[in-house]
Symmetry: C2
Subunit: 160 residues, 2 copies
Amino acid sequence: MRSMPERGHHGPTDPSAVPARLRSLATRLLGRGAVHADRISHARLTAAGATRWQYATLVTLRDGGPASQSALSERTGIHRSDMVAVLGGLTEAAYVERAPDPTDQRRNIVTLTPAGRSRLRTLDRLVDQTQDELLAPLTPTERAELIRLLQRIDDHHSAR
Amino acid sequence: MRSMPERGHHGPTDPSAVPARLRSLATRLLGRGAVHADRISHARLTAAGATRWQYATLVTLRDGGPASQSALSERTGIHRSDMVAVLGGLTEAAYVERAPDPTDQRRNIVTLTPAGRSRLRTLDRLVDQTQDELLAPLTPTERAELIRLLQRIDDHHSAR
DNA sequence: TCCGAACGTTAGGAGGACTAACGATGAGGA
DNA sequence: TCCTCATCGTTAGTCCTCCTAACGTTCGGA
């Protein structure tokens, strides 16, 4: 059924073998955390035939209503050159409609379809599961604290 | 001087435009945090002609003494197929020596040279600066807490 | 009217994390 | 002892994400 190689799992098997200096580097921990997060969400989403970028785009359309591609790009953080293919896939699946903006010929207006809205509800549940799997070792309080700290870092480095 | 394109900075300029649902996803925050971390450490390290992988390898040698390539791979989390090139670069710069293990012809024994040890001291300072730049918006207590939580996640998902 | 900016699009590159496969070597069991 | 299987270093190549460069079109301000 699956032709592509399973996304594997290398990395250290024995965490205690990792030098303390490396183990406590925030840059390294974030990188490794992202790898775990990728592995988990990629697995769940591809099993449903979706991608992270598609999900982010659908959420943004539900949240902010119809928008141009560059607005979607800005809000999702997905590069506008990558957004093209994302919307291509979503349009093909009829989760989204792409029409020229009558007031500005340069823009497309992207709209969420009912099918897209329904699809999004499915993906919402899937994404909730990925959060749970990723944060499994943390208590609810710790999860909230982690998210808060990560938001602060993201906001700081995204600003300007 | 630099022939390669500067690693830019796209992403949302206005964080408030990002849907709340996306903004609070741990998977997304980790991904974005890793991007910021990458940008910062990549910038500082390439300016010094080094890479993250080289640094991790040097640290591991200082911490655990001479080791085979597969041991280094295990301890750093760098894939053994990538370790080849890392050690190639370090050997060429004479920061490291690679000699066949007399007790096991399959292995190489990698040793840190005095030059490598000195190089490592320079990089240590650089890496400290990257941590500081990345974690700038957090207090010392928050930094420690973030690191602790990220370690828990990494340990959990790295185990077995 | 002209110039510069914005928009969507295509092509492509860098870097990280892998898989697959190879030859050589080692170790354990029949 | 012989055979089998695992391990080691190595090469080649894949996938994904993030990002640059350039293009033609369209808009808007001086």
